[in-house]
């Protein structure tokens, strides 16, 4: 049957993630526009999307760059935003861990929120898939998701040059982050972590080098984990 060939799994993945082409485009275009508006060159903006490939951390870095934050603080904050991907990497390992190193290296580059979530859901639903079918499906998902991210960033960076500087577009970054974070507020523990993060970040806003944010993030993670343990929730 045709559907057992890896090639058709590629197309299945591509089609399954097709809605993300539309969902990601506004996000990537806004990144391109904002990065250029904030003072990055077109090449730097596009390079950012191709080298880092992690929207939320890219917005975080640009936000801190407009505040002239210290180099190490920008890197630490961006990586803190991306720490969740260690979890994705761990979740993919049982399904793709037996692939050759070079293939795992490519998967790691393409391992983002959407490709991770959709691939693991399929792998768990159909444990009988072969390794090459799993890889083909992952590559199909990645084609849809990342083409939108790359193309949108390029379009936004080029279009951003034509947008007047006095539009108060800078508030698009906070809006984007709040939208991202609020979609994740599934449990009391998530709310507790988010509230701690806001309160401590505001209370420590006077601390130099934006270090208050890193303290707030560390405490908020512990608060979330603590509430989870108290509520006896094991996921």
């Amino acid at each position: 049957m045709a559907s057992s060939r890896p090639n058709s799994y590629y197309w299945q993945g591509l089609r399954a993630a097709a809605p993300f082409i539309i969902a990601i485009a506004p996000f990537s275009i806004v990144f391109g526009v904002l990065a250029v508006e904030s003072g990055l060159s077109i090449a730097q903006t596009i390079g950012f999307s191709f080298i880092v490939v992690a929207g939320a951390s890219q917005f975080a870095a640009v936000q801190l760059m407009t505040e002239d934050a210290h180099f190490a603080v920008i890197v630490a904050t961006a990586l803190a935003v991306n720490l969740r991907m260690a979890m994705y990497s761990a979740a993919l390992a049982p399904h793709l861990g037996m692939a050759p190193l070079w293939q795992r290296a490519i998967v790691a580059y393409l391992n983002v929120d959407q490709t991770f979530a959709m691939s693991v859901a399929r792998y768990e639903a159909e444990p009988q898939l072969t390794l090459s079918q799993r890889l083909a499906y992952f590559m199909g998902l990645s084609t849809s998701v990342l083409s939108s991210w790359f193309a949108g960033s390029i379009f936004g960076a080029v279009a951003g040059q034509g947008i007047p500087k006095d539009l108060s577009l800078e508030f698009a970054v906070p809006i984007t982050f709040l939208a991202l974070a609020s979609g994740l507020l599934r449990t009391v523990a998530h709310w507790a972590a988010a509230a701690s993060s806001v309160i401590i970040a505001l209370a420590l806003d006077w601390v130099p080098l934006n270090l208050g944010l890193l303290i707030a993030a560390g405490v908020a993670m512990a608060v979330g984990a603590g509430v989870e343990i108290r509520n006896g929730r094991t996921q």
Binding site: M65, T66, M85, A181, S197
Partner: protein, 105 residues
């Protein structure tokens, strides 16, 4: 923004390498060994622990002084409400952005 061209590329490179190492970590090096429970539990809260605190000052005191801007506060509240109830990223962005645009006319 006062960074030199070299500094900006160095920043992008450092964040890119760090992010890649995070993504590669378990898949590439650790293999299929499970992560300890306490680490998974902490990592689960990383996004909601970082993002709200990152934007809180820009929402509360946008120009670095103590003056609050009602348009930003309301737009932020609308974004969180829509994002939380619908779970739809794009809907939340447009609702919040639209609210901010209307209120700051």
């Amino acid at each position: 923004m006062t960074y030199s061209t070299t500094e900006i590329w160095a920043l992008i490179g450092a964040i890119g390498i760090g992010t890649y190492v995070i993504r590669f970590s378990f898949l590439g090096l650790v293999g299929s060994r499970a992560m300890p429970d306490w680490a998974m539990r902490l990592l689960r809260y990383a996004p909601v622990a970082v993002l709200p605190g990152l934007v809180a000052p820009a929402v509360m005191w946008p120009d670095g002084d103590a003056a609050m801007d009602p348009a930003r506060l309301v737009a932020a509240a609308v974004t969180v409400l829509i994002g939380w109830r619908s779970g739809n990223l794009v809907a939340a962005i447009f609702a919040g952005g639209g609210t901010f645009a209307l209120l700051s006319l």
